[in-house]
């Protein structure tokens, strides 16, 4: 096991940040922790990177205990914390050199590992880190976290607040890193990124609601999900809310995701109902549930 936690709990200033967390991450896995702000993701990361002591429970990273062997762990993991925390007033090059030095390595030694990421920021290597765009800062931070060829990489919300293009590029890079044998633990509030992981843990309010591969999680979703579209989305939602057999309705981009409280939906019946309430351009179709559907269903409980 590359990472394993057993009944980890932590309370912070009277608030329970994480409760009774247990799971395992296999070597070479790309594991995602999915959840909104306040779920406890950062606390969990800090416990695993030995920055915080859990109140109860044990955790092992790359075969080392987070409490007993913290010094060794700190030498062999890569960590990218939530905010951009590199030195704003040092250049790209200087930042990299600094991290290489404190980890007792050089930029050249592990260049292969960071090459394709670094190449994107290399043109700006004499620019101060503070003057880079959000996407570039992330890439730099990722390079610094990888510079010593860690066995395990911890990335705490690396794509938060970054535009979709940079996000996509970032995940492409993660996949390629994974192919080089690094175990990666990522946290993100973006549900669509969950689909890119090998396995995910859905987290809310300090609890883990579900752990499995994205595919299996979605398969487990008990209800059939329908996409419904109509001329006026807001009116559509209000009308659906009045529908007697409604189980849930949520806007999902262009369409609305609807689940019925019965085991079968009579599509024509619903269509009639909508028309009767003045909606036009109606489309109803069966669709695959997404991680977000599952998350919201679980969060309700």
């Amino acid at each position: 096991m590359s990472i394993s936690l057993h009944q980890i709990s932590k309370t912070y200033k009277g608030i329970s940040a994480v409760q009774d967390i247990s799971f395992e991450v296999k070597p070479g896995e790309l594991f995602g922790i999915i959840g909104p702000d306040g779920a406890g993701k950062t606390t969990l990361f800090r416990i695993l990177t030995t920055l915080l002591l859990a109140d109860t429970g044990t955790a092992v990273v790359a075969g080392m205990d987070v409490v007993e062997d913290y010094i060794e762990i700190r030498k062999s993991v890569g960590y990218m914390p939530g905010r951009f925390s590199l030195y704003q007033d040092l250049t790209v090059e200087e930042n990299l050199q600094f991290f290489a030095t404190i980890f007792g390595t050089t930029l050249e030694r592990n260049y292969e590992l960071i090459k394709e990421i670094y190449e994107q920021i290399e043109p700006f290597k004499t620019r101060r880190a503070g003057k880079l765009s959000g996407g570039m800062k992330q890439k730099l931070a990722l390079c610094c976290a990888l510079i010593h060829k860690p066995k395990v990489l911890f990335l705490d919300e690396p794509t938060t607040g970054v535009d979709p293009v940079s996000r996509k590029e970032f995940w492409d890079m993660l996949k390629r890193l994974q192919a080089k044998g690094i175990t990666i633990l990522v946290s993100t509030p973006y549900m669509d990124e969950a689909a890119l992981c090998d396995r995910v843990a859905l987290m809310q309010n300090g609890h883990i609601m579900e752990i499995d591969s994205p595919k299996k999680i979605v398969e487990k979703y008990p209800k059939a999900v329908y996409e419904i579209g109509a001329g006026e989305r807001h009116k559509l939602i209000q009308v659906l809310r009045e529908f007697p057999y409604l189980y849930s309705v949520y806007p999902f981009g262009e369409y609305v995701h609807y689940t019925d409280s019965r085991s079968d939906l009579d599509i024509p019946e619903l269509e009639e109902y909508l028309k009767a309430n003045g909606l036009t351009g109606i489309y109803i179709g069966l669709t695959e549930p997404t991680i977000e559907d599952v998350f919201m269903e679980m969060a309700k409980e």
Binding site: Y12, R46, T49, T50, L51, L52, L53, Y70, I71, R74, K75, V77, Y79, P81, G82, R83, S85, L86, Y87, Q88, F99, I102, F103, G104, C144
Partner: protein, 368 residues
């Protein structure tokens, strides 16, 4: 108008819900008024003096008693020979030596005049002046008392000599003090801010999750400032010597070494502050408010410690600046060597080790 009031009300909420603001608003002014009130004293009080009585007759004993019973003075000791005078000043406690010439009483009766030599430690010109004035007035009183009904009777004459600072230049008092304060503030404030900055920006987190050991981080933060502070110290000394014409009676090497020691003391104090402060602003505030004012007031650089109430005198002992000012004045103005300042040096070394010890203990290897 309503908007304005609404805004003002909100500001009140912010203030009374922030304990730190309340402390600054009320706690600090009160503390400072008390401090200033008690510390600032232009009168002298129980200044230590020494007598060299080369006559030891009834007259000298009478005059000595008059001086000793004054509330302004306290007798440190009786010297045996003139050769002891220099030494007693170098020791630092005695601020004035009163020297009665041989056959004092006889001379007064037979020749109508006898001389008292008053040597005052003028490294603190204000105190020296006060001492001189009081002594002169006591002598004058004595003269009047022995000349009740006569004119042109016997007179005791006083010869004053300002030691170490004949021109009573106040700059001699200020420069060592300013040098001390600058070194202390710059070193302590700069290190504390630098470390607090890492915490505030979040880069500390990454440093922690790295092979860097705590002492490497601290040392790394401190070394640049040692070098810079040394340069600062050199500049100040050069300016003092060439612009203010301050003498350096003692050894420059000793001065340099002691300065480096004091820089280390200040830096380690800065590190201690940084283990407490979470943000740069807090670090700066603690350095300025917590260090600067007490240091200026209680280090003896402007206001003599001897004149302060006892509790303040005791507190002044924990201020590193106080000891360094003694050292620096001693070396520059009195030309003392290690023999006279070993005690102060040892105290500074002790303080440095103490600050470092506590900082190491408090340095958090984790985030909370």
């Amino acid at each position: 108008m309503k908007r304005f009031i609404g805004f003002v009300r909100k500001e009140f909420y912010h203030i009374y819900r922030d304990k730190r603001s309340l402390f600054i608003l009320f706690g600090m002014p009160i503390a400072q008024i008390l401090l200033f009130g008690f510390a600032i004293a232009n009168e002298i009080n129980k200044v230590e003096i020494a007598f060299l009585d080369q006559a030891k007759d009834a007259t000298t004993i009478e005059i000595i008693n008059k001086m000793a019973s004054s509330k302004y003075f306290s007798i440190n000791r009786y010297l045996a020979a003139e050769s002891e005078v220099e030494g007693v000043f170098k020791e630092g406690k005695v601020k004035a030596v009163i020297n009665f010439e041989k056959d004092f009483g006889e001379k007064l009766v037979k020749r109508g005049k006898a001389t008292i030599q008053l040597v005052a430690d003028a490294t603190d010109p204000n105190t020296a002046n006060s001492i001189t004035n009081y002594i002169l007035s006591i002598v004058q009183q004595y003269n009047q008392s022995i000349n009740l009904h006569q004119v042109g009777g016997p007179q005791v004459l006083t010869q004053t000599h300002m030691a170490f600072n004949p021109e009573l230049k106040s700059v001699f008092m200020f420069v060592p003090g300013v040098m001390t304060i600058i070194l202390m503030l710059v070193s302590a404030m700069m290190t504390s801010i630098s470390i607090a900055k890492e915490k505030e920006l979040g880069t500390m987190e990454i440093l922690l999750v790295s092979p860097l050991k705590p002492f490497q981080v601290i040392l790394g933060k401190v070394v640049p400032y040692i070098l810079l502070s040394i340069i600062n110290a050199i500049i100040i000394v050069l300016l003092s010597i060439f612009i203010f014409k301050m003498p350096v009676q003692g050894s420059l090497i000793l001065l340099g070494t002691e300065s480096v020691l004091f820089i280390l003391t200040s830096l380690s104090l800065g590190i201690l502050i940084s283990t407490i402060a979470k943000t740069q602003q807090t670090a700066m505030m603690i350095s300025l408010m917590g260090l600067m004012l007490p240091v200026i007031l209680l280090s003896g650089f402007i206001f003599p410690i001897g004149s302060m109430p006892l509790p303040l005198q005791i507190i002044s002992n924990i201020i590193p600046a106080k000891w360094f000012i003694l050292i620096i004045k001693g070396i520059m103005l009195k030309g003392v060597g290690m023999a006279f300042i070993w005690k102060e040096t040892l105290i500074l070394i002790g303080m440095t080790l103490f600050f470092i010890g506590i900082s190491t203990y408090k340095y958090k290897i984790r985030l909370e």
